[in-house]
C-alpha cells in the first residue's frame, strides 16, 4: 500500500484549534473481526509503532498463525491473551489531521453487558459489526439496543467480511433492510451502513475497488466527518458545583469561585441564574479560568463561576437558568444496568452518586426486567443479577436535580454503590 504521509505530519496551531475529539465504542466477539478492524484503523492511520508491530508479528509467527494478527494489538492483559478474549474495556487512541479518536473497545458476549454499557456511556458513535455471512444475529441486536439505551447519538453498522460473500450488493441490501426493520423499534437518531472487509481494508480507510455499487463514504471518512457539534445539550443550562475555590491569600482575600464542569447549556456573564436547592436568584458575575475571564462557557468546559450576591454554595449544589430548571426530586425512575455478583436487593439501601451530589437511596420497586436481546419486558422475574437491565424506582434521602437521560446524559445519569464493599454495583439512566 502506498505510504499515506498525511497521517505523519504534526498539526499546525490552526489545525489544533479545529481538531475535535470523537469517542466511539465497539463491541464484538472473537470471530466477527472487531479486533482486526481496530487493528486496521490503527495500522492504516499510522498509529501502530514499528516495535509494537514487530512484537505482534513475532507472536503471530510463534503461534503459527497465517500473516500478522492485528487482533493481538488489542489484547492487553496476560489472562486475556491466555484465553484469547477481551474481558475488560480497553482504550485505544489514534488521530488523523481532522480528529483525535478514543476507542472504547469492549467484549460482546452477554456476560459482558456491563462492560459494553461502560464503554457506551461516553461515546459519540457506536460501531456495530455484522458478519456478512451471518447477517443480523442476537449479538447485533444486543449492541444496538445498548447503544440506544445509552443514547449514543450515532450508530454506524459495518457489514464486515464482504470479501467472503463475493462483495455482493444483494447481501448488503438484505442485511441493511433486516436491520432497519429492527431499528425502527429503537430510539436511535442517526444510523449509517458501510460494507467493509477489515481483513483486506476495503472501505475502512481506503475506498474499495471491489464494490463499485457502494456510493457512500468509507468508515474513516465517516468517523472524521460525522457531525458531533450538537451531541451536547446546549439548551438547558446546568452547572453542578464541584469544588469551592478559596485562595486564602492576601492578594485574593475575598475570592470565592465555584469550580465545575458545564453539564448543559450555555452560561454567559450577566445571565440571570437560579441556585439549587435554595431557589434564590442572582446573576453570573464572571466566568474565570487560569487563561483569563470568559464571556461564555458551554459543555464540557471546566471553569470557575462567580455570582453577584453573597450566597454560600457548596459541592453538589447546582447553578441553572431561571425558567429552565431540572426536576428537583427524591423519587427517581431509572433504567439500571446491574454490575455486581450480588443481586439487586429489593428494599436494599445504596449510596447514589449523581453529578457532584451524593445521597443514600432505597430501592422501592422493580417494574420489569428488560430482555437485552429482544426488548421484551419481563414482569415475572424481578431478580436483578449481574448484567441484567431493569426499570426500577428509587427514593433518595435528599432531593437531586435531575433531567431525563435522553435530554442530558450528564444530569440524567446515576451510579449506585454498595455500602458494605464500596463497589459500584449499578449504573442508571433517568426515565
Amino acid at each position: 500500500m502506498a505510504e499515506n504521509t498525511e497521517y505523519l505530519k504534526p498539526k499546525t496551531n490552526s489545525q489544533i484549534k479545529n481538531t475535535e475529539l470523537l469517542r466511539f465504542t465497539t463491541a464484538g466477539s472473537v470471530d466477527d473481526g472487531k479486533s482486526t478492524l481496530i487493528g486496521r484503523l490503527l495500522y492504516d492511520s499510522k498509529s501502530i509503532f514499528e516495535d509494537q508491530y514487530e512484537l505482534i508479528r513475532e507472536v503471530s509467527e510463534r503461534r503459527g498463525e497465517e500473516g500478522v494478527n492485528l487482533a493481538l494489538l488489542t489484547d492487553g492483559l496476560k489472562s486475556e491473551r491466555e484465553q484469547g478474549i477481551t474481558i475488560d474495556v480497553a482504550y485505544r487512541y489514534f488521530a488523523t489531521p481532522k480528529r483525535k479518536f478514543i476507542i472504547a473497545d469492549t467484549p460482546g458476549h452477554i456476560q459482558y453487558t456491563r462492560n459494553m454499557v461502560t464503554g457506551a456511556s461516553t461515546a459519540n458513535v457506536a460501531l456495530v459489526l455484522i458478519d456478512a455471512r451471518q447477517g443480523v444475529v442476537e449479538q447485533t441486536r444486543r449492541h444496538a439496543i445498548i447503544a440506544s439505551l445509552l443514547q449514543i447519538p450515532h450508530l454506524v453498522i459495518c457489514i464486515n467480511k464482504m470479501d467472503l460473500v463475493g462483495y455482493s450488493e444483494k447481501v448488503y441490501e438484505e442485511i441493511k433492510e433486516d436491520f432497519e426493520g429492527f431499528a425502527s423499534k429503537l430510539d436511535v437518531a442517526d444510523v449509517h451502513f458501510i460494507p467493509i472487509s477489515a481483513l483486506n481494508g476495503d472501505n475502512v480507510v481506503n475506498r474499495s475497488t471491489n464494490m463499485a455499487w457502494y456510493e457512500g463514504s468509507t468508515l474513516m471518512y465517516y468517523l472524521e466527518n460525522v457531525h458531533i457539534g450538537s451531541d451536547h445539550n446546549l439548551i438547558d443550562a446546568r452547572f453542578p458545583i464541584q469544588y469551592v475555590v478559596r485562595p486564602y491569600s492576601d492578594e485574593y482575600h475575598d475570592y470565592r469561585g465555584y469550580a465545575g464542569r458545564v453539564a448543559g447549556g450555555i452560561f454567559k456573564k450577566g445571565d440571570e441564574v437560579m441556585l439549587l436547592p435554595s431557589g434564590f436568584t442572582t446573576k453570573i458575575a464572571k466566568i474565570d479560568t487560569y487563561d483569563g475571564e470568559l464571556e461564555e462557557a458551554f459543555p464540557p468546559m471546566s471553569v470557575t463561576v462567580h455570582i453577584e450576591d453573597d450566597y454560600d454554595l457548596s459541592r453538589g449544589d447546582m447553578i441553572v437558568r431561571v425558567n429552565n430548571t431540572p426536576e428537583v426530586t427524591q423519587d427517581l425512575e431509572v433504567m439500571i444496568c446491574w454490575f455486581s455478583e450480588r443481586p439487586l436487593q429489593p428494599n436494599g439501601k445504596y449510596t447514589i452518586m449523581h453529578t457532584t451530589q451524593e445521597a443514600r437511596c432505597v430501592v422501592k420497586d422493580v417494574r420489569y426486567k428488560l430482555d437485552i436481546n429482544s426488548l421484551h419486558r419481563n414482569l415475572e422475574d424481578r431478580n436483578i443479577r449481574m448484567n441484567d437491565i431493569a426499570r426500577i424506582v428509587l427514593r433518595t434521602t435528599k432531593p437531586l436535580f435531575v433531567d431525563k437521560y435522553y435530554r442530558n446524559r450528564t444530569t440524567g445519569s446515576i451510579i449506585l454503590i454498595d455500602e458494605a464493599t464500596n463497589n459500584t454495583v449499578g449504573a442508571g439512566m433517568v426515565i
Binding site: 504534526p10 489544533i16 475529539l21 442517526d190 469544588y243 458551554f298 446524559r409
Partner: protein
C-alpha cells in the same frame, strides 16, 4: 456530510447548530477532562498527593493542577521518589518548579532506605533501582497517610495501562487487581474505600504522547533541558543508547562516544535510553514525535525485561 439517512433536525437541534463554534478543540477537551478529575480528587479525598517523577508527564500534571485551582495554590504536596540516579538537570528543574508553584515537596530517598538496610541494590551491569521505587513509594504513602496519589500515567503508553481506570483502587498492600476494577461511567467517579486502602488517580489517561507535546508547546510550558537535543557522552547496550554516568557500569566492549541526543521519556539514567536527535526546539520535537515509528517506552530497559513487565510491576504497586 454524506448521510442520506439523516433525519430532519428538530428546532432545538437547529438552534444548537446555528452557532457551530460551541465545540472545543481536542486539546481543550482533554484539558477540561483532566481538570475535572483533579478537582474531583481534591473534593473526594482527605489527603491527596501528586506523584512527581520530574518527567514531562508529571510536569504536565502540575500545570493542569495549577489551572484547576487557580488562583488558589495546588491543595496537595508533590511526592518525588528519588532513586539518586536521576539526571541532575531534572532535580534542578524540580526544585525551581516547586518554588514557582509554592507547593510542598516530599522526597522519598531510595539511597536512605538502602543505607538503613531496608533495601538492597540490584547487582550487575543492568542493575536498576526501578523495582526499589515501589517499596519506597508505598512506605511514603503510608507515612504521609495519603489516601489518593495522582500520577501522570497514560493509557497509550503500554498495553496493561490501556485498561487502567481514572480512579484506580488499591488494597491495603497497594496492589492493583486488574480483574476486579470498578466500572467508570459518564463523569461519575467512585472514590469510596475502606480504612488503609488508597487510590491511584490518572487524570491524563486519555492523552497520547503527541497530545502531551502539542499541549506543552501550545501552553509554553518549560521543560528540563535533557528533553532537547544536546551533546552527551553515551554508549550502546542492546540497541539502546545510555548516558554515560557514574551509576551504570560498562562492559569492556561498550565504547563511549559523543553524540547529539535527547530524552523521550525521563527516568533513571541507568535505564532510560537517550535518543539520537537534533531536535533542539519544541517544533522539531513535535515533528520528530509525529513521525517516529517506535513507542517511547521502547527505549526503557525496565519494560524490556519481559512481555508483561509493566502488568507485573503494576500489580505490586508500581504506578
Amino acid at each position: 456530510m454524506v448521510n442520506p439517512n439523516e433525519k430532519i433536525p428538530s428546532v432545538e437541534q437547529k438552534m444548537a447548530n446555528k452557532k457551530t463554534d460551541y465545540q472545543l478543540s481536542y486539546l481543550k477537551e482533554l484539558e477540561a477532562e483532566s481538570i475535572f478529575i483533579i478537582r474531583e480528587v481534591a473534593a473526594q479525598f482527605e489527603k491527596p498527593v501528586l506523584m512527581f517523577s520530574g518527567g514531562k508527564d508529571s510536569i504536565l500534571m502540575t500545570h493542569l493542577a495549577m489551572k484547576a485551582f487557580y488562583p488558589a495554590r495546588i491543595p496537595f504536596p508533590l511526592l518525588h521518589v528519588d532513586t539518586g540516579h536521576n539526571f541532575p538537570e531534572a532535580i534542578t528543574f524540580r526544585d525551581e518548579l516547586v518554588e514557582r508553584l509554592g507547593v510542598k515537596l516530599i522526597v522519598g530517598d531510595v539511597q536512605k532506605y538502602i543505607d538503613e538496610g531496608k533495601l538492597v541494590d540490584e547487582k550487575g551491569y543492568s542493575a536498576s533501582r526501578n523495582a526499589l521505587q515501589i517499596p519506597v513509594l508505598l512506605e511514603e504513602l503510608e507515612k504521609g497517610k495519603f489516601d489518593a496519589a495522582l500520577g501522570g500515567a497514560r493509557r497509550d503508553e503500554e498495553k496493561a495501562r490501556a485498561k487502567e481506570r481514572f480512579f484506580s483502587h488499591r488494597d491495603e498492600f497497594g496492589q492493583w487487581d486488574p480483574k476486579n476494577q470498578r466500572p467508570e461511567l459518564w463523569n461519575l467517579f467512585n472514590g469510596k474505600k475502606n480504612f488503609g486502602e488508597h487510590f491511584r488517580i490518572f487524570p491524563i489517561s486519555n492523552w497520547t504522547e503527541l497530545d502531551v507535546w502539542q499541549y506543552l508547546h501550545v501552553e509554553n510550558v518549560p521543560l528540563p533541558s535533557v528533553y532537547y537535543a544536546h551533546k552527551r557522552v553515551v554508549f550502546e547496550r542492546d540497541g539502546v543508547l545510555l548516558a554515560h554516568n557514574e551509576f551504570t557500569p560498562r562492559r569492556p566492549e561498550e565504547e563511549l562516544k559523543e553524540m547529539m541526543v535527547r530524552c523521550r521519556t525521563m527516568g533513571d539514567m541507568t535505564c532510560t535510553g537517550v535518543w539520537e536527535s537534533d531536535a533542539d526546539t519544541m517544533e522539531k520535537i513535535i515533528q520528530e514525535v509525529a513521525t517516529t515509528r517506535t513507542t517511547e517506552r521502547g527505549a526503557r530497559a525496565d519494560d524490556k525485561r519481559s512481555e508483561t513487565a509493566m502488568e507485573d510491576r503494576k500489580k505490586k504497586g508500581y504506578f
